[in-house]
Amino acid sequence: MRHTRLTRRSTLAAAATLAMPSIARAQAAPIKLGLIHPVTGALAGAGGRCRLGGQLAIADINAAGGIKSMGGAKIEALLGDAQGRPEIATQLVDQMAEAGAAGFTGCFASNLGLAATQAAAKYGIPFAIDSGIADAITTRGLKNTFRFFPNNTTATTDAMAALDAINKKAGSPAKTAVIVHEDSEFGTNSVKLQAAKLPLIGIEVKALLPHATPTRDFTNIVLRIKAEKPDIVLISNYENEYVLLARTLVQQRVELMSTYSISGGGFNLKFAKEAPQVAENMIDFNHWHNPKDPRATAFRKRVEDSGQFYSWELPFGYFAVKLLADAWERAGSADKEKAIAALNASTFSDHFMPYGPTKFTDGQNSGAHPVALQIQQGDMHVIWPDSFADVAAVFPRPKA
């Protein structure tokens, strides 16, 4: 008579077989998240980096076991290219909503964000803005829209406070300024506030020099700067013009205590690496991570090790997703209303931005602030506020 031996292996196999249906039942349905960015067209670079940040966050959340309060539900990305057109952003919201999206992040540019958040509001689906600085995104009364990052009013107001603090710390050597700005929304908006605020911090504005985008030769503008002999030059323009102006200032040997930009389009690590002599000691007021947080350093290294260029858009895309995931985790559900309630009550602090825990007022995180950055020895450093600064400001910069 032949007996079938019940070995440990066969027992485990039988147990696994019996348990399989219940395990399969326990696997939670994925949560669909729409990521809407311009990944083609003029905004493709920055939009693509926002998307990449979001994808990294999704990978991290899923690798760590998904949304635990929902039985380890994984997040599934729905990717959409808004091509820089508000009507396409709206179309993507509709398509993704019908595909079952429980949340959205995006859209890098304010005009895309305005259109997409409004479209998502019709479905009541939560929308975490990852970039798009226009105040109106969160001041229109949309209940579904949340911005973890600073808005325009905060950015421009803080920028003047930072300049004042940096100047005073050095003994207030800067008394005069020239403002160079591009003539569309971004530059126009910044320059009005700067021109009004600079006299209040003891800096006389000697000239406002607007230029078109694109501008391919800054010689005349730089010669006018030279004639005005300002202590500092304030710059508000986009990437190519920023770099070209900075180069021309060096080529024309303009003696300045510093340049100071607000959301300087070309002020990034690529510029610091490619034109170190030009970029050295330039100051920008912009978004950045908390350099004292080791998680930030590790995140930057991870991005750079993968061959990508690191910029502030990456943590923006990353934490927009994390913010939503935190809401789902606390709500224990991807239900739209529960997630929005969880976002309103959010005290999300598992991040490495210089903000502290979130506190949303009408969808805007009131604790979010940009920082003053300076390129020193080819790298980006925070120089203001002191609580997040990793180096002291070099101001005025040494004469050539």
Partner: protein, 309 residues
């Protein structure tokens, strides 16, 4: 043969009202808006041979008219429709009078319209009246009385009404004496002048008519997306789209722009939905356009004409 075509047309036009999918309705709405703008271009460019590269001037004028009327003067947005019809027509008449009195035609006229569009972009970028580069946010306030619709079927209904209006204008041009004068000057200006057609007057009226209708599209855009800025309003891409829709479908025909819009939007949407590689969808779109233009010089409607012949 006409009856089945009318049935198909009615089903396509009225079908979206039965749809519950907002994305499908949105697709239909974008297609109809595109067909409407293409038809507006067609009235001047197709029937009159006034090949404009800057038709977005009128679109932007309408969009800014809607935005400024509400945000500066607090007027009801429905009033923007007649206002835009007037401002668009006036801008068309002004540009037409200036260009045609100077005897500009063909590629010179095309370049002038392109230049005017750039002038409008720079002006709207610089003036406080238009809030410069900041653009204008229209306050959110959903409701039919406020010309803001939560259900896209309502927006679609307005767009469809505009398309019917523009198509009726095109059909009228096909039969009316004024349309015959336009066709005559399109084919040979010197011969038309010799026959007694007042070239400047006829072309200016055509551009004013086209401009006024196009401005309605700008109002609809402003009321749908609630934000206008210089690039959205006066950017060259929209001009190109209007021109392409008419050319692909069949310029100078009544149904060409509608066919063109349907085909172009299907290609754009399918390529966007099926292909995830960034940049590949627009490239495919461009290739398909080249093929259509290369193989069908009379537009898609040329296939129908050839088949009937």
């Amino acid at each position: 043969m006409k009856a089945p075509l009318i049935v198909v047309g009615l089903v396509l036009a009225l079908g979206p009202f039965a749809l519950t999918s907002q994305s499908l309705v949105n697709f239909a709405m974008l297609t109809v808006v595109s067909a409407f703008l293409g038809q507006c271009w067609n009235i001047a460019g197709g029937f009159g041979g006034l090949t404009s590269f800057g038709h977005t001037i009128f679109f932007g004028t309408g969009a800014y008219t809607a935005a400024i009327l509400q945000t500066r003067w607090g007027l009801n947005p429905w009033l923007a429709l007649p206002a835009a019809l007037v401002t668009g027509s006036l801008v068309g008449a002004a540009i037409g009078a200036a260009a045609f009195r100077a005897g500009l035609r063909g590629s010179y006229f095309a370049l002038v319209t392109l230049a005017f569009a750039e002038v409008f972009r720079v002006l709207s970028n610089s003036l406080d009246f238009t809030r410069g580069g900041l653009g204008i946010n229209i306050p959110l306030g959903m409701g039919a009385g406020n010309f803001q619709f939560a259900d896209r079927r309502s927006t679609y209904a307005v767009a469809l009404a505009f398309l019917v209006l523009a198509t009726a204008a095109a059909a009228w041009l096909k039969r009316a004496r004024f349309g015959a004068r336009l066709a005559a000057l399109r084919e040979n200006e010197d011969a038309a002048a010799a026959l007694g057609v007042n070239l400047v007057r006829t072309k200016t009226i055509a551009l004013a008519l086209s401009g006024g209708l196009t401005a309605l599209g700008g109002v609809l855009y402003a009321q749908t997306y609630l934000y206008v800025d210089p690039a959205i309003s006066f950017g060259v891409e929209r001009s190109v789209e209007m021109l392409l829709v008419a050319m692909i479908g069949g310029a100078g025909t009544v149904w060409g722009p509608i066919l063109g819009a349907i085909v172009l939007h299907i290609i754009a949407d399918v390529s966007r939905s099926w292909i995830d590689t960034p940049g590949f969808a627009p490239m495919l779109y461009g290739v398909v356009l080249l093929v259509i233009i290369g193989l069908l010089p009379r537009g898609i409607i040329g296939i129908w004409e050839r088949w009937r012949a």
